[in-house]
């Protein structure tokens, strides 16, 4: 693992309050947004964020759980994955 940057994806049926709900959890865990894009892809609300974690001993599992709990509350699927998972697969 070369950095502490994570890709957060939120996919689901569009409704009011998704961005607010998700970013609230991120703020609670002190997770910073580096970049954010939001679009409707294949009829689905899709939000992709590049997030940075600054703390040394960050509770990743706890954060992932809190994010997916918030996701089920909002009726969307939330994933938090290290950015290398995407870099490695698509870039040489």
């Amino acid at each position: 693992m070369s950095s502490s940057r994570f890709i957060i994806t939120v996919i689901g049926i569009d409704k009011i309050g998704i961005v607010a709900g998700i970013t609230q959890v991120m703020a609670l865990y002190n997770v910073n947004i580096v970049d954010i894009s939001q679009t409707i892809m294949d009829d689905l609300f899709t939000m992709i964020m590049l997030a940075q974690i600054k703390e040394e001993n960050f509770d990743l599992a706890g954060f992932q759980q809190a994010m997916s709990e918030k996701g089920s509350e909002l009726g969307v699927e939330v994933k938090v994955q290290h950015e290398d998972a995407f870099h490695f697969m698509h870039r040489i």
């Binding site: 994806t9 894009s37 892809m41 994933k79 290398d84 995407f86 870099h87 697969m89 698509h90």
Partner: protein, 453 residues
């Protein structure tokens, strides 16, 4: 943003709806330092050594799974072939060693442990013979132990005494595990040209050319390849090959990333990445389905071998470009019980044992997870093994046989193993006897292909 949103969504789709997974993270552990004449001390040495290296294996792989969001299905251990390290034991039977391996597997939390193995391609030592004779009881009295015996290589030829013996051992193993449809045989594989760095069970063992502790990773994505091929609009076979290559490349990169991270965290050397299309019983995660996506009405019909050759070659090419550590078996697996498309092809009558044998000449392993009637004579099983070993020996490739003569079953019955091992339709074998041929014994000499020095 540095990564394109479509690439991100592609990766997520591969995992969530196309069954892309890291099939296994396998820790290979050298047991050569464990040898001792007293079997109790020997067992204790083995247990301690496995616990020393593998205590954190499961926790570490789970952490990596969460970090990247890529499922890691199995955590496994492979050890130095037990026949080698047990040679100096004065015990007559090695069943207790298998039980020790099982206990270590249980305590570390891994799914399988492989290496109750012997390499007897040119002949058997007393230790090899003791190990082979212990296999039925070893597999009947353990849950997680896998066993393999290498009976042929291109360099040495085929040890037909061992082939004949393995026919009997497979029958005995089925008999001792008959309450579970002969499941012991699902954990026993007979090899030609066995690779020393293979992370896939039941054939995994820690080869003698390997370092002390190594992490090998097996990646699998038949579902991903299947959906990529199906998405093509009226492709030529060249287009299909190109598409499979690109997909294999992406899958391999994922495996390399996980393997290197696992090795780093576990203070082990990163060994190989085995990019294999290993199917699962899940719908769509099927090698047969890929062959059918190329335009065959049912897997097993004329053209299947050609389609499989195209697939296997494209997978290797894509993988070779993506990583410098591609090893193991790397290619397409064609187990019957674990592949929903293969099961259906057998039931439809389009896929026979003979066609499967032909297909093994162009795929990664061989006759894998095939159920045959319970009353199949051991000489017929040995002859099936001999044919498969001949394909491996002559073509300088790995081949294997994992066949289950499920006690009390007849052609057309279905036997259930559960989990990744799946459901096997009992397939017919030829009725004509191979008894006399198999009972001759001796060794089929190494072919002219062996003289490459």
């Amino acid at each position: 943003m540095l990564i394109h949103p479509e690439e991100i969504l592609e990766t997520i789709k591969m995992v969530t709806s196309e069954n892309l997974d890291i099939r296994t993270v396998t820790m290979g552990i050298n047991l050569r330092g464990c040898s001792h004449p007293d079997i109790d001390t020997f067992n204790e040495n083995i247990y301690n050594r496995i616990m020393y290296y593998a205590e954190d294996l499961v926790k570490t792989t789970n952490d990596i799974q969460n970090l990247y969001g890529i499922p890691i299905i199995n955590k496994r251990i492979s050890v130095t072939p037990i026949a080698i390290v047990a040679e100096s034991c004065d015990a007559a039977d090695y069943t207790s060693v298998a039980q020790t391996l099982d206990r270590a597997a249980e305590d570390t939390g891994v799914d399988f442990i492989g290496g109750f193995s012997a390499l007897v391609q040119k002949g058997m030592t007393p230790g090899d013979l003791k190990l082979i004779n212990s296999i039925p009881r070893a597999l009947a009295s353990t849950n997680k132990v896998c066993s393999s015996v290498n009976v042929a290589t291109t360099k040495a030829g085929i040890n037909m005494d061992a082939v004949a013996l393995m026919g009997k051992i497979i029958k005995e193993t089925a008999e001792l595990t008959k309450s579970n449809s002969g499941i012991g045989c699902a954990k026993l594989v007979v090899f030609a040209n066995a690779p020393e760095d293979n992370p896939f069970m039941a054939g995994a063992f820690h080869g003698i050319g390997e370092p002390d502790c190594v992490i090998n990773v097996g990646v699998s994505g038949p579902g991903v390849v299947n959906s990529a091929v199906r998405a093509l609009n009226d492709p030529t076979l060249g287009d299909i090959s190109e598409c499979i290559k690109k997909t294999a490349f992406k899958i391999t990169r994922m495996g390399e990333m996980v393997g290197k991270e696992a090795a780093r965290r576990l203070h082990a050397q990163f060994g190989v990445l085995d990019l294999s299309l290993a199917p699962t019983p899940a719908i769509g995660d099927s090698v047969a389905a890929i062959l059918e996506a190329m335009g065959l009405e049912s897997c097993g019909t004329h053209g299947t071998t050609a389609a499989l050759a195209l697939l296997n070659d494209a997978v290797k090419k894509g993988g070779a470009m993506a990583s410098s550590s591609v090893g193991g078996l790397s290619g397409a697996f064609i187990p019957v019980s674990e592949d929903e498309g293969m099961i259906r092809a057998v039931q439809r009558g389009s896929l026979s044992l003979d066609k499967l044998e032909a297909m093994t000449s162009v795929c990664s392993v061989g006759l894998d997870m095939i159920a045959v009637p319970g009353d199949t004579p051991s000489s017929t099983i040995a002859a099936i093994i001999a044919d498969e070993m001949a394909i491996g020996m002559i073509n300088k490739k790995t081949t294997a046989v994992r066949v289950i003569p499920a006690p009390g079953t007849k052609v057309g019955d279905m036997i259930e193993f559960g989990g990744l091992l799946g459901t096997a339709p009992v397939m017919p074998v030829h009725e004509f006897s191979s008894e006399k041929f198999i009972s001759r014994g001796g060794r089929i000499p190494a072919p002219i292909q062996s003289l490459t020095n």
